[in-house]
Symmetry: C3
Subunit: 298 residues, 3 copies
């Protein structure tokens, strides 16, 4: 390999390794050992175990905020099945290093798409360590270190045509009769329920804008249909106590929210659940909305 | 804005953003991007959601141990209601950046009080990002970065009279007849129960010192009164198995503790609970104390 | 004390302080304050409270991957009983700083054994802080900082003969009739069950190699004996759905694993549990194994 001088000074690291044992720390230690001057920015290590979809969306939400860096992504339910890959984006402003299982695909797309990709088949560059189960430590960390040192992608293994990489699965909303059938992308720590619908979808479909009420139909676990009305507001503080709001969240998507409360608990929604949105027929005035919600709550 | 050269090389960061998703990591990434040479010291991101009091006490306990730094504090149940603020303390040895909701008040007081304050109304200094819900990322992080770069408080927005900042709520113990009525400030991971009573309070009231027994009355969830005797000891190892101790804890407050056990579980206490302390009438000898505890346990 | 110039630029930090409050963060802040240029690599702070054995194994697994550094280890159920110690290993490539309770012993052994040790009795080098309960902040952090600055072990307190340090407890497997009686060392976040048996034990005892089936007998909580067959495979992906595998894990030990599943849940094993391994009498063919497992599951 031919290091050409420090290329990246930051490794952004996310995984499902958890924080209850030393696993994620050992990966940080390997990076510290191999490239002492490089900073590690931990995004999170408590992504649900094996949950490639949840992790891929977390990474995609973060991409726009990262410095030039190597991204080490380790949610890897089957490390033995397929070689890990490195994917270069944005004329080298970033390189994603991780499994080829769709984990990195939405983030790569957010960064403008894959320009070059390589399967990490040059095993002499990996750590000569026991077992084959801890790829973040044994493969991804040393490769990330070498990328930081300026080693070119081409030296890491066999080139891969970017179109052959495993794609990500980002569900799109669909129109169905009068309704928009949406899906929950993410529930954050506060119970805010991010949908795969942006404000532009409501504008396009119904010419709605802020202060507009939208009917939200959710299928409960028991199979019943729960109807709530949510009003499109500017921020949490505009949501009346006990009511539901729709805000443009920090990813630019619409989220169902409560005011200092947990909207996901109140309406029983988790990531992957379906939400059917329709236009509210009654008065659009916030007063009317509040009434509607109260009535429907019985 | 007029950067005058690196002023702070550390940002101390605490929040209720959690660690299960990328939120706190994205704030770190923004800081890394804007001020690459600055270190981030994470205090914790698992403060209970929306719990300004718990967070304000955690920050206050930490303040004496911080280097010169910018403190980024994000426990912010209502980001839209009131502008965030920056508060300068100790002739510029530190600047607190966060919501004006009392979160920072006890820490500011520990640092000698607010000398200057400003509302972060210069929105052109914030990130131009979607939504208005993620103030830690979009307002606090870029402002912290600018403070690190030497930008003066006055350039960040409208000055605020420090006496008009929302105060913190730190409960004080009170004398009631023969008793000191105390409150639980904090239960740490080990179940140690920090009270809002210092050793000087026992000395002042009862001229007590180490090895003295104190009766502890706690109202149980069922409404009964539970009486235990706790002996003031130097360390956990002096607490007999099954007994309760009172130690001067790492904040200089009295804490109810067990020896390798969880005192909070044993006596059913959580932050905010009331504890009534009285002098034990019987012999002050440790032997006597042990007996008293055993008797009362029946 | 006589600092001789920066000796270590990294402090590796693990503890049972948890991450729900500021405790571990305050230790990081003290290090940042005392030795601003030193990086802290967090291994984990969520080790079970007071659990010296679990923590000692986590540290031992990490040691081979650490850079030259000071290791600050804080799982310390009885801080008042015995002075903390510093232990030098590998001609000064590392110094362990922590309680003398066996926590560091397996890690020290992994690093080649203690060469020098000292009790941290020079209290003037510690922080002059309230209480005596937070030794990580008040003793271990300032001592780690001084070691980074080049202060020699001899200046930190009274020398201790390394053979008098409290030993670690690492259980060894034993032969019992036809069986190997093993113990669970660790269950990782994914439910992989690390045993205290290495692949060389199976080779020595039964001349087994990969693709060999091994009978696994586990005593259930109800006292019954559960028998499962596990096949020695190269990786998770070779384990059939619903079956158990044995893999050489990332520490070089054998672990019971499932394919994208939680083996510990399925067979009800936790750290410290006993596992009896015997040779499977039936055909060694993988087909036969699968049958055996299914039969025994009834």
């Amino acid at each position: 390999v031919t290091p050409v001088g420090r290329r990246y000074d930051t490794v952004t690291f996310l995984s499902d390794l958890g924080t209850r044992d030393e696993s994620a720390g050992v990966v940080r230690a390997v990076l510290r050992d191999l490239v002492p001057g490089v900073s590690v920015v931990d995004l999170t290590h408590e992504l649900p175990a094996f949950d490639v979809r949840t992790a891929s969306l977390a990474l995609a939400r973060a991409v726009a905020y990262l410095p030039e860096c190597v991204i080490l992504a380790a949610v890897d339910p089957s490390p033995g099945e397929r070689p890990a890959v490195a994917i270069e984006v944005a004329d080298g402003a970033g390189v994603f290093v991780g499994p080829d299982n769709g984990l990195m695909a939405p983030g790569v797309a957010m960064a403008g798409g894959a320009q070059r990709a390589v399967a990490l088949t040059a095993t002499d560059l990996h750590l000569g360590t026991p077992g084959s189960t801890f790829r973040a430590r044994d493969v991804l960390a040393p490769i990330a270190a070498q990328l930081c040192e300026g080693v070119d992608l081409a030296e890491l293994g066999e080139p891969v045509d970017p179109v052959l990489l495993v794609p990500g699965v980002v569900p799109l909303p669909r129109d169905e009769g009068d309704a928009i059938v949406a899906e929950v992308l993410w529930v954050d720590r506060f119970g805010n329920v991010q949908l795969n619908v942006g404000p532009e979808d409501l504008v396009r479909r119904w010419s709605l804008g802020p202060t507009s009420p939208v009917a939200i139909d959710v299928r409960t676990v028991a199979g019943d249909l729960l109807r709530r009305v949510a009003t499109w507001v500017e921020g949490y503080h505009e949501v009346a106590s006990g009511a539901l709001g729709l805000v443009v969240d920090s990813s630019g998507m619409l989220a169902l929210v409560a005011n200092r409360g947990d909207a996901s608990l109140e309406i029983g929604l988790a990531a992957g659940d379906q939400v059917v949105m329709t236009l509210v027929a009654e008065s659009d005035a916030p007063e009317g909305v509040t009434t509607a919600v109260n009535l429907r709550r019985r």
